[in-house]
């Protein structure tokens, strides 16, 4: 009986641990476990808005707020700004305060985006426009032009790079009747104070001592400045009629603007070159944005 039973019984089934054989039970269990893990992850993501979030804060950051990093360097900077201390010397309380503030700021910024604050708040709109303009400008500043490029720019704008001229001029006011005689006396290089005294003139007091050209232009006005700027020392203008009398301008000393060499002007050349380049790149960016945008304009605005 025993022998017969052994002959007719089924061969022993391999255990589920035996990886050389297919195990139906193992397959079902692994499938079920995988499905359960998937459901848990999906539920967690759905109810916590974490998306495909990572649970590890990258080493260069101090926190992730909805996956938005708060950089360690910014944290140190904020610590320095608020408490004038570095991380090693900051108290736990100071570190916590700064981190809390930065997390709060990030949360509010994110909320601001959700609420689309930029569509209603002009300050936010201005800040965003400025930020985009700045990011365009950053590309220009990050690349240093070669000396040859700067020299070429300098040669094309040479007239801009000159010193501000200086002059010492006397603005003399004479009675109308005496002005022609005073003019002749001044042009004959008579002593200025003697001429003023002789012809009943006076100093207007509008210009005092040596001045830059721009200052003289302000003090004298365009008409008189243009009349006097080309004179050499010792020369005088023709009489100029003005509401307060007849003016004669006598040039004591004139140092016209002098062109600056490339080496003298290099720093300003670089600055101007970068400004021009930024303006060009920003204009190109704007053209690109307009090109790809779908802008619809009302009928009455299309004129």
């Amino acid at each position: 009986m025993t022998v017969a039973k052994d002959i007719h019984s089924a061969p022993p089934q391999p255990g589920w641990r035996d990886m050389t054989h297919v195990s139906f039970a193992r397959s079902i269990w692994l499938f079920a476990i995988g499905a359960a893990i998937g459901l848990i992850l999906a539920g967690f993501a759905l109810f916590t808005a974490k998306g495909t979030s990572t649970l590890v804060v990258p080493p260069e950051d101090v926190a992730l707020v909805n996956q938005q990093p708060i950089a360690r360097s910014d944290f140190y900077l904020q610590l320095k700004t608020l408490y004038d201390t570095d991380y090693a010397h900051a108290t736990i309380e100071q570190r916590r305060t700064v981190l809390d503030q930065m997390i709060r700021e990030e949360l509010f910024v994110q909320r601001g985006k959700e609420l689309d604050e930029a569509s209603v708040d002009p300050d936010v709109r201005n800040a965003m426009v400025a930020a985009v303009e700045q990011s365009i400008a950053a590309d220009v500043l990050a690349s240093q032009p070669s000396d040859a490029t700067l020299l070429d720019y300098y040669n094309r704008h040479k007239d801009v790079y000159s010193s501000e001229g200086t002059l010492v001029v006397r603005d003399l006011v004479f009675p109308s009747a005496n002005a022609p005689a005073a003019e002749q006396a001044l042009k004959a290089h008579q002593n200025v104070d003697a001429v003023v005294s002789q012809f009943g003139g006076k100093d207007s007091g509008r210009v005092k001592g040596e001045e830059f050209y721009f200052a003289s232009r302000i003090h004298l006005g365009d008409l008189m400045f243009n009349a006097v700027r080309g004179l050499a020392a010792g020369q005088a203008t023709a009489p100029i009629q003005a509401p307060d009398g007849v003016h004669i301008l006598y040039m004591v000393n004139n140092r016209p603007p002098v062109a600056e060499s490339f080496d003298q002007a290099r720093a300003r050349v670089l600055s101007d070159y970068q400004k021009d380049a930024i303006a060009r790149v920003q204009a190109a960016d704007e053209r690109f944005l307009r090109k790809r945008a779908n802008v619809l304009i009302a009928g009455d605005m299309r004129q």
Binding site: P58, Y76, S135, G209, A267
Partner: protein
């Protein structure tokens, strides 16, 4: 589901056995090289992670970390900074790019964190975190300082007087009467004291240079250069790299720049 059992290994062994010796050696080399690259990449990533998580001002005391960061920082410096500051970091006075080797710092105190802030956000760079608290006004212009329109232009004589006062500050021969007038302008209507301090020693918090030493950011320190600076103003820039380089690269450059002025010196450790 089919597992990998002894039979599979035997089959793999048999397949390898069928390959020529040369092929086996080549395969082993490829696998070995791949393993080395992989291990190298992992170690590199670990070192970079450690580098950026360290407190910046303490990093110079970490010899291993400095050995890791400096060669990389040098390469990055050459690629991104040398065009202005020079290959050796000695600066270019013609464009106001400061010497980075003299331990005289225009912004901050020269700690790694200060340098890192400049590398990250730049000077007068187009971003909200850049260092842009003040510019040098152009006193020979109608509006010397558009950010503070109350500041009035100076006359050529005023500028000469201020230069004389600065000559006195740096113990150079000067006309005492002119210097006295210059001092009054410096400390009053010129507004110079506001940034440079009444003693002319500057303010690293806003990038106002010390006017009493022999280090000049622009030019050669001659009276003509100083007069030109007062007349035409200055506002040097340094690009920001926060959106172009990784945090680890920024730290590497900063440590390299720090090392330029601290070679052979035991760095100050800020941990109490």
């Amino acid at each position: 589901m089919v597992g990998v059992g002894g039979r599979d290994f035997a089959a793999l062994k048999a397949w390898i056995g069928r390959l020529s010796v040369r092929t086996r050696i080549a395969g082993a080399m490829v696998l070995g090289f791949g393993a080395i690259v992989l291990v190298g990449a992992i170690l590199d990533a670990q070192s970079q992670a450690r580098l950026v998580s360290l407190e910046p001002n303490n990093t110079p005391t970490d010899v291993a970390m400095m050995r890791f960061a400096l060669p990389r920082g040098r390469g990055l410096y050459q690629a991104h900074c040398a065009s202005c500051h020079g290959v050796e970091g000695r600066g270019r006075p013609a464009i106001g790019a400061p010497n980075l080797t003299d331990n005289d710092w225009l912004y901050g105190e020269g700690q790694v964190s200060d340098i890192e802030t400049v590398v990250q956000y730049g000077i007068r760079a187009p971003n909200g975190r850049t260092w842009r608290l003040a510019d040098m006004p152009a006193f020979a212009h109608r509006v010397p300082y558009p950010r503070e329109t109350a500041l009035q232009p100076l006359t050529p004589g005023d500028i000469r007087d201020v230069v004389q006062f600065l000559d006195i500050l740096r113990q150079q021969p000067a006309d005492p009467a002119a210097a006295l007038r210059g001092q009054a302008i410096f400390g009053n209507r010129g507004g110079c004291y506001d940034c440079h301090g009444r003693d002319g020693r500057g303010d690293a918090a806003i990038g106002a240079p010390n006017l009493t030493d022999s280090i000049w950011l622009y030019g050669d320190g001659s009276d003509a250069w100083i007069a030109d600076t007062i007349a035409n103003g200055l506002a040097g820039t340094c690009p920001a790299w926060f959106d172009r380089l990784s945090p680890a690269q920024i730290r590497e450059i900063s440590l390299y720049v720090y090392s330029l002025s601290h070679s052979g010196e035991q760095p100050k450790q800020s941990v109490p």
